[in-house]
Assembly symmetry: C2
Homo-oligomer: 199 residues x 2
Amino acid sequence: MNLAPNPAFRSDSAASLLRAEILSGATAPGALLAESAVAKRLGVSRVPVREALFALEREGLVEFSPTGRAIVKALTPQDFEELFVLRLALEPLASRLAAPALKVDISRFEKNLSATRRARSVQEVTRLDLEFHQLILEASGNVRLLKLWRSLRGELELWLGRLHRSHQLQTKETLNETVDAHQSIVEAFRSHLPQPANA
Amino acid sequence: MNLAPNPAFRSDSAASLLRAEILSGATAPGALLAESAVAKRLGVSRVPVREALFALEREGLVEFSPTGRAIVKALTPQDFEELFVLRLALEPLASRLAAPALKVDISRFEKNLSATRRARSVQEVTRLDLEFHQLILEASGNVRLLKLWRSLRGELELWLGRLHRSHQLQTKETLNETVDAHQSIVEAFRSHLPQPANA
DNA sequence: CGTATTGAAACGGTATACCGAATGAACCTC
DNA sequence: GAGGTTCATTCGGTATACCGTTTCAATACG
């Protein structure tokens, strides 16, 4: 029997830990992530830490100084503008691609939608919103498009987390707008689908 | 005095060499790029080779097997379709962003355009075409958009190179279509620009 | 003849060590 | 006291070594 092909690489573990720390705000924006220090703290050598930092850079959570130092990304309002423009281009594109070719269960969308209706915190809404759009991206069938979107998702989560911690997100509006928008997308998908034979 | 901040890292050199080999077709699609072998061939250790391979993966020239082996990407027609769809989404977006905010010299575009008119090989046309669009991406001011596009550029070059080597590109049509399209884009930019005060 | 087994070679993930460059603070100069 | 210099420390880039896993071909088995 084949074992799992990936018996928990240390670099993946390191990336997960650092990712959680950054998204939770435990490590401040602009903070230096020195390889040696992180390695000692996580109990591994510098090599897997190095790879974890590269991975986090691809996710947009970390950036490198010209001399190769890894620092926690500090987002500016202009960064948010850029991300918003790109979401507004990529996500509708994914919808157009997914609509005629949708092969996966529409039930996954409905499940997400009802979970969003039951959501009780703004973090939950934003998390489910991102998940909803990721479902669209996956259904688009364009793996490169999904990759591009993923490379933005980390930064979006980073930004939303910081906004939330500074109490600049309003729950009620976010929830209603999100549910309405998702509802209409699901309807559009349903109208393009062949009639389901049964439950 | 400050020296250049980057005195030619071995990992960059390794990436450049491997990139050239892959784009020229010297290393066949699907070929294994074993770290040890490449390291010995280039006269460096495995570490910089490793980083070079990661960089090439971001560029889409290399992909990793589930067990971590790096292989030269083998493109399918579906891959080309995906790339085409994304170009068709990203490049017009960049044009729309660049048109009102264009700050850089329009002369750079004109220089590229006239070089394209003088081009005498299909490789030259495709290279100048990619460069033209990269100028637009840079003028858009959206650095994330430029990054996304860059991550596709490598794969496009890979594909075009292979098409060319199998004689599936026609020079004449490509040239005329490219020049016409670029011409109209430059005109659009010009009409949105303030009148130049002088030369 | 096709299929399972096994064993050696190859490969990737990680640890450790070394080195030059970058950094920042104490020090000196004016 | 402000600005430049020096020097010890820190940090990243690279080389080398070790180990478990994967791979693949030779071999044994049906």
